[in-house]
């Protein structure tokens, strides 16, 4: 497995160095020039290929390898894990955690994206009309992006603390009842979703804002001459013209959100019980969250997440294809 990339690398590099020379001589020997420039291309591509194999293909292979063996700790050290085929996947699917985790992942992901996108788009449109301090304000909205996640997640956990949190102190000051945000199975998932929405807004804001810059101003001018109001302009111009950017924003958001571990782990460790456990949290917990690392089921859950992300990726490609075909 490792010999292949090494071969490609060395062969590619040596030819690559030589390949730059014959590029200068003239046309007659067309075939040879072509092939040596092909070698040059391989040479230039080689570092990237090696990188991809080392840091993408190998971990992916290893993940699949982990998930089809029974890696107990003993087997991990002695390297003699038993091949169990799809047993780990069967165990994952039949586990009582699976339906909860799948449902939580869906709620967390779609809930986060819906609000992140809506709020991000609203803010992008808002900041499009430049006004005084708009740049400063826009920069301030990027703060969630700049903070280390452990800081923002801890801060959220602190604010949502049942007894001493600022959120509850405001609620009780207005006569409401204390809400056990993070410790009640009914609200734990909601709480981590809220925190994640806050974290994701800047990403949506920045991408959608740059998308808005590409919509020509004269379209709006023409529309306002025709008497279209702000609302009409948004639905008839901004929204449709922003569709390609929106699609990629949502797709990226989807992939980022599917794999979120840190925010949830810091705030609730997936608890109480399994009530805020997503697939990613489940995978992390199996591998590192207990005294006994269980790499095989963790890898199985991880692969499941990759497949889910892939499905949405292909869906996006298909949609894009159809869009291009029609336009």
């Amino acid at each position: 497995m490792t010999s292949t990339p090494a071969d490609v690398g060395t062969r590619g590099e040596s030819r690559g160095a030589a390949g730059t020379e014959p590029a200068a001589p003239s046309a007659p020997r067309r075939r040879r020039t072509l092939s040596s420039s092909q070698w040059a291309a391989v040479g230039f591509a080689a570092p990237l290929l090696v990188y991809l194999v080392l840091f993408y293909a190998y971990p992916l292979m290893r993940n699949i390898d982990l998930s089809v063996h029974d890696y107990t700790i003993r087997a991990f050290v002695q390297g003699n894990a038993e091949f169990v085929g799809l047993q780990n996947y069967v165990d994952v699917f039949s586990s009582s955690t699976f339906p909860t985790a799948l449902w939580n992942t869906a709620v967390f992901t779609f809930g986060s994206i819906a609000f992140q996108f809506t709020l991000g788009l609203a803010l992008a449109v808002f900041f499009k009309s430049s006004f005084r301090l708009s740049t400063t304000l826009r920069a301030m909205f990027l703060v969630p992006w700049l903070l280390p996640l452990i800081v923002s997640a801890s801060t959220w956990a602190w604010m949502l603390n049942s007894e001493n949190g600022i959120v509850n102190s405001v609620i009780t000051a207005f006569g409401g009842e204390q809400i056990n945000w993070l410790t009640d199975p009914d609200t734990a998932l909601l709480s981590v979703t809220i925190a994640n929405i806050w974290l994701g807004i800047p990403f949506n804001l920045v991408i959608l804002y740059s998308g808005l810059q590409n919509i020509p101003g004269d379209v709006y001018e023409a529309a306002s001459l025709d008497g279209a109001g702000a609302w009409r302009q948004f639905w008839s111009i901004t929204f449709p013209l922003l569709r390609p950017v929106s699609a990629i924003t949502i797709l990226l958001g989807l992939i980022y959100t599917l794999k979120v571990v840190d925010v949830i782990w810091v705030m609730t460790t997936g608890g109480p019980g399994d009530s805020s456990t997503t697939l990613a949290i489940w995978s992390y917990r199996e591998a590192f969250g207990t005294g006994q690392p269980d790499f095989s089921p963790a890898a199985a859950v991880g692969n499941l997440l990759i497949v889910i992300a892939l499905v949405f990726g292909f869906l996006h490609l298909r949609l894009q294809h159809r869009q291009e075909a029609t336009s």
Binding site: N180, D184, T269, G291
Partner: protein
């Protein structure tokens, strides 16, 4: 740190991390391998030492103490510190690569896990004498009748109280001898306007660690999580929460958070460990200590904490001689007391060491008592089953405390999960 790695590496996180760790492992490989070649028989050379104390850097008393043991044995010790969970992973990876360090200090529940992989030598193989070590402490490192390490010290849990709050409410700490008297005391202090008790019921090993004194104190056994005694223990906690004697935050509290809550001065009681002794002495109010009570009186067995010194298997067995000298240096009675003093929160695991420590520091008396009645989590032949049972147990605690299930239901599920996981 790991959390960032995972975020960055995304879905590939699991393998990515393993991969990254493997890379670290193999860089250690180089140094150990080279040392092995040089120091095979000649005195001198470098011996590798891993411990979970990154807070003690190269200039600390602890580092000096480790180096002194190396000097006595005529070698240099190369010490590397990892955080507790990372250390277990590192140890496993180094064993996989065949590059284990000479000595590891490791958290006691992990000893049986490492021993199960066959990467540790037994104490007998090393010819170390463990007869003076308290059996209840040594047991945490015993797998199938073989001891795989020696505790370098022990810590455990006890019940801290805020003397000012108890005074105001008119509660005599000496009256707290069983569950009923403790609950009565909680009623009295909350009636007087203070907060009752705080502890950690978080969904990690810490949650189980804190629940065990009550679990064992009721007479329950880890092999039967849904016994009536176990249900009583969980109902005790749940009852405190429902009555408002304990704050709702306990469900997410780590032991550290528990301590921070206690230090605010609002709480009458906090369940916490030996490692807070100094902090308690420096608190802005007067603190005291009562033993965690068992259900019907007496001291409940609390789980033991603390590290074991273990010696991984080496290819070059000639190294064992020096390794033994290093281990012995750490486990003499003077060595135990010195370790206890260096850390300020370790109770020596031998009667002799405990006496010597109490001579120097009589205030630690209640902790010595607590350690003597403590119990290893992996004892009772649980070994590597313990982490699986523990996970089931903390999940049950979480479900019951948050109201997702009744204590009886939650423990029934836990028992089924534990059985499925350990079978």
């Amino acid at each position: 740190m790991r959390k960032y790695t995972l975020r960055g590496a995304g879905i590939l996180g699991v393998t990515g991390l393993t991969f990254a760790l493997a890379a670290c492992g193999s860089s250690d490989d180089g140094s150990t391998g080279a040392d092995g070649g040089e120091s095979g028989d000649a005195p001198g050379g470098t011996y590798t030492w891993w411990d979970p104390y990154p807070q003690h850097d190269g200039s600390s008393d602890w580092e000096a103490r480790v180096q002194a043991c190396g000097e006595d044995a005529g070698v240099t010790i190369e010490r590397t510190a990892y955080d507790t969970t990372a250390l277990t992973n590192q140890a496993l990876l180094s064993a996989q690569e065949g590059t284990s360090p000479d000595v590891i200090l490791i958290d006691n529940p992990a000893v049986s896990t490492l021993a199960d992989t066959g990467m540790l030598t037994t104490v007998d193989e090393f010819g170390l004498d463990t007869s003076s070590i308290d059996q209840n402490l040594l047991d945490a490192g015993v797998v199938d009748g073989n001891a795989y390490g020696i505790p370098i010290g022990a810590n455990t849990l006890s019940l801290y109280y805020n003397a000012e709050i108890l005074d105001e409410a008119g509660v005599d700490p000496a009256s707290i001898t069983d569950w009923d008297s403790l609950t009565a005391a909680l009623e009295q202090v909350t009636g007087a306007g203070s907060k009752g008790i705080t502890f950690s019921a978080i969904g990690t090993e810490e949650g189980t660690f804190q629940f065990l004194p009550w679990f064992w104190g009721s007479g329950a056994d880890l092999s039967q999580l849904d016994s009536p005694e176990a249900v009583e223990a969980l109902e005790l906690w749940k009852g405190w929460l429902d009555e408002g004697y304990a704050p709702n935050t306990v469900i997410n509290n780590s032991q550290n958070t528990v301590w921070e809550e206690f230090l605010t001065g609002d709480f009458a009681f906090a369940e916490n460990g030996t490692w807070q002794v100094n902090s308690a002495a420096e608190a802005e109010f007067e603190t005291g200590l009562v033993q965690l009570p068992a259900k019907d009186g007496g001291v409940a067995p609390a789980p033991t904490g603390g590290e074991f010194i273990v010696a991984p298997v080496q290819e070059d067995t000639a190294r064992y001689d020096v390794t033994r000298q290093i281990v012995e240096c750490m486990t003499t009675p003077e060595g135990f007391v010195e370790t206890a003093n260096t850390f300020a929160y370790y109770i020596p695991p031998t009667a002799e060491g405990q006496e010597a420590l109490l001579e120097e520091n009589p205030d630690l008396e209640p902790w010595v008592e607590a350690v003597q009645s403590a119990k290893g989590r992996t004892s009772d032949g649980l070994g590597t089953d313990y982490p699986l049972i523990s996970e089931a147990l903390w999940t049950a605690v979480q479900n019951a405390m948050s109201g997702a299930a009744t204590p009886a239901e939650a423990l029934e599920t836990a028992q089924a999960d534990a059985e499925a996981a350990t079978s």
